[in-house]
Symmetry: C2
Subunit: 494 residues, 2 copies
């Protein structure tokens, strides 16, 4: 009986081979996986202790065969087969772009990203990492932005448990020799997120570093990226985020190098996982129209620009740093919970998506945004509430309302007969724009902060003579609203 | 003994003359006023009942003489003199631009505009107009945006008490014949504002009209503007605002006509009163770099753009419609009081200015923004508080802080050693940017909503190793803040 693997899980082939040189440099090793007329080439990798592995994520049920190719005899020409069985409940496959501006899992289930950020959570040791996972079980995030490399930055002064490269006694790295223990640990965390239905938005490079990981030469960068792909691409929940704040590394990694990373991902990731790159300076967005970029990952506090980004890039927009809820000294990490929720609602109701973050001062410097731990703020529950609303809505995301100047001031999105209008800082006592004239609609009034939903009431509006004349025919209806800020309206056909 | 007139009050010469035709069209009448080597030509006007008047506001103390010139013998060659005496307390003269981005009165007293809008308040009848004046006495506004013409618009369906032109029994206007009663009433209100220290920002044209005032031909427009100048320019508190929402009238008044209005003001207003023009669509700012424009009057909810406007126009910026506090159905009139105060603080701390407005639903449609009456909201008191702070600060306005990316997210302005930092939606527990290192400064923490001011405390900051190393020399100080939104900090040299 051949092995059986659930669709979108991964098959792993392990082979042993001894090599006298540097197995990370000297050994080529890949496998070709074939189902009927379809075959994919997948890179293998060295995992230490004379062990080589190749991982493959099948996306079609049925029989798969493989054959290995290597410059080492022990790894060459090995064949085998396995059966790909149906995906179990909760396994929807990887996420891809759908309908230009949105996402869905490969099984067609819509995916609305409501992520959070814990940049360095996998570098904090067992106790804190387990606490982070526990928190994630209780929260409702479905994406995690996380760096491969550890972070050296304010509130991040601790050394990691594992280092990604071999180090000698003097602490000098050998960038040609990966530390398999580091990557096994990182993979374990990615796999645990996968089990919880959380996409791992893996940040490949970042500038906050005192180990030299952001200053490796180009060849070492490319080798590292290929190694990451070989190890991690078979995890269905992997997204590639080439950088946190690529523009802060242009002194070390010029623009053509960033383009080359995208080309490596395009060439080496057989599953075409999502690919993005994240700016630091709000004036220095990457050119997200480039073909390697699947979706726009942006840092910008000015969320009301979302319609412009949609227009400019024609790809899904995720604003993953619209500033974090918190109280630290840095302005990117000290907005109020209300403001955090407000900005996320603006992004989503205008047909974009947004990421959560939290940076409250902590006596041991355990800030969620970097180290994980527990959530201290008030926005995360409201994000969960909004996610639920979106998932209860029609399939696919929202298209921003654009038929009137009103929607430059108030946020509104639609999908077929469905409307989600967000008033934010506006507090009208009644509303008319974007409402259906027919009674065949259910209208709910949503308090985005209190997380309440109650049926809305309409009444015939007192006409504005200067606009409609004294007795407009047919009469116009207005929706009664509570006259306080941070309200929303949901309109659904009965 | 010749008459005596206080500086910046006006001298009025009244002459009687009978004319059989249309005195508004047929009679030319002006006077030249001379003090030593200086002389100014001033247009006179017909005030009905065979009465002609010419008004003159002297700006230099001492003897002034005049001689009239007219095509009517009775109005020609009349001479006289008067003495200009020192200005009394509270009379600072007209307001002009100073230091590129700011304003002061002619006597050098700084003027920080904290205005409000009651578009049609002079058209509401004695009782309501007196109530408006009473409210203004209690509030702290020092500028009023007000239309000459009445307004036809939602919540404005009443006819005015007076019409600006003669009307026949059928209600048809004769645009060649002004109604002196209308203008006498309007002047009275301008004069009453002047006595209260309130600048009258007089809106010459606006589109909200069912009488035809926005659709007169160009010649009638020019005649009307010249008549306004002749009647009103001698009031020291007059500002000319050529339009509310000029871009909504481009179908009726093409761009060259707007330029011509500015040329008429430049030619006919001997006192060079402030001149501006106000957009409707936020994408359709007038080209405020044009020479006739003394300062930028803008409508834009996105107050964080103020530094861009300063850079683009190099003139004082007043955002007079950053949306109004209220709860009406239109998004320009339903932001929360907190948001109104927030936007005004952003404008001011970034070296601009802002106008207040209020649009709460009212059973008799008496909304402050148009009809006046009483204030119902909560922002006006906070505007008064901010005005007081500005007036307690150093002479001249603020220059925005620009030396760090921090100031793209948090608002800060400076003037010499003085700093005013506004955190808005940010709620840090401590702060370092823009603080002096020396102890010779008084630092206050201001709650912009609660209107409290209390001394701030500084402490040596725990260093961020990743930025400064473990023991920076000299140590850096941080200011302790309350960790809640809508706070500000004032820094003054002892």
């Amino acid at each position: 009986m051949p092995d059986s693997i659930e669709k979108w899980d991964y098959f792993e082939l392990t082979l042993n081979a001894h090599t006298s040189g540097n197995p990370f440099l000297d050994v080529t090793f890949e496998a070709e996986f074939t189902h009927q007329h379809r075959s994919l080439k997948v890179s293998g990798f060295y995992d230490g202790d004379n062990t080589f592995r190749v991982r493959f994520m099948p996306d079609v049920e049925g029989d798969w065969r493989y054959v290995t190719v290597s410059n080492l005899d022990a790894l060459n020409g090995q064949t085998g087969e396995f059966i790909c069985t149906p995906a179990s409940k909760g396994n929807h496959g990887p996420v891809h772009v759908t309908n230009t501006f949105h996402f869905s899992y490969d099984d067609g289930t819509p995916y609305y990203p409501f992520g959070t950020t814990c940049y360095a959570w996998t570098h904090q040791g067992e106790a804190l990492e387990e606490q982070t996972l526990k928190t994630l079980k209780e929260a409702s995030f479905n994406k995690m932005r996380m760096c491969v490399f550890p972070k050296f930055y304010p509130f991040n002064e601790n050394e990691p448990v594992y280092y990604p490269f071999e180090r000698n006694a003097a602490g000098e790295h050998d960038f040609t020799r990966f530390n398999p223990e580091f990557f096994r640990h990182f993979e374990q965390r990615v796999g645990e997120l996968c089990q919880m239905g959380i996409e791992a938005d893996i940040i490949v490079f970042h500038p906050y570093d005192h180990w030299g990981y952001s200053r490796m030469d180009a060849e070492s960068d490319y080798r590292y990226l290929r190694y990451l792909i070989a190890r991690l691409a078979a995890y269905r929940n992997v997204w590639w985020s080439l950088a946190n704040e690529y523009d802060f590394m242009l002194d070390r990694k010029p623009m053509e190098q960033w383009d080359e990373y995208f080309r490596i991902l395009l060439a080496k990731d057989p599953y075409n996982h999502l690919r993005s790159i994240h700016n630091g300076d709000t004036e220095k967005n990457y050119d997200h129209t480039k073909v390697g970029v699947t979706h726009v990952c942006i840092q910008n506090w000015d969320t009301k620009q979302v319609k412009r980004w949609r227009r400019d890039y024609q790809k899904p927009i995720i604003n993953d740093e619209l500033e974090y809820e918190g109280d630290i000294v840095f302005p990117w990490g000290n907005i109020s919970a209300r403001e955090e929720v407000h900005r996320i609602w603006i992004m989503v109701t205008n047909g974009g998506y947004a990421g959560h973050g939290e940076t409250y001062m902590h006596p041991q410097d355990i800030l969620w945004w970097s180290k994980g731990g527990v959530l201290h703020g008030e926005s995360w529950r409201r994000v969960a509430f909004l996610r639920k609303l979106m998932e209860e809505g029609p399939v696919g995301g929202l298209t921003p309302m654009e038929d009137s100047w009103v929607w430059t001031r108030v946020s509104g999105g639609k999908n077929g007969d469905y409307r989600l209008i967000y008033f934010g800082e506006h507090q009208p006592l009644s509303w008319i724009e974007g409402l259906p004239d027919s009674p065949d609609y259910e209208i709910d009034i949503i308090d985005t902060w209190e997380m309440t939903i109650r049926p809305g009431t309409r009444r015939i509006m007192k006409p504005f003579k200067a606009i409609t004349g004294a007795n407009p025919e047919p009469p116009r209806y207005e929706l009664i609203l509570p006259g306080k800020p941070f309200q929303a309206v949901r309109i659904r056909k009965r």
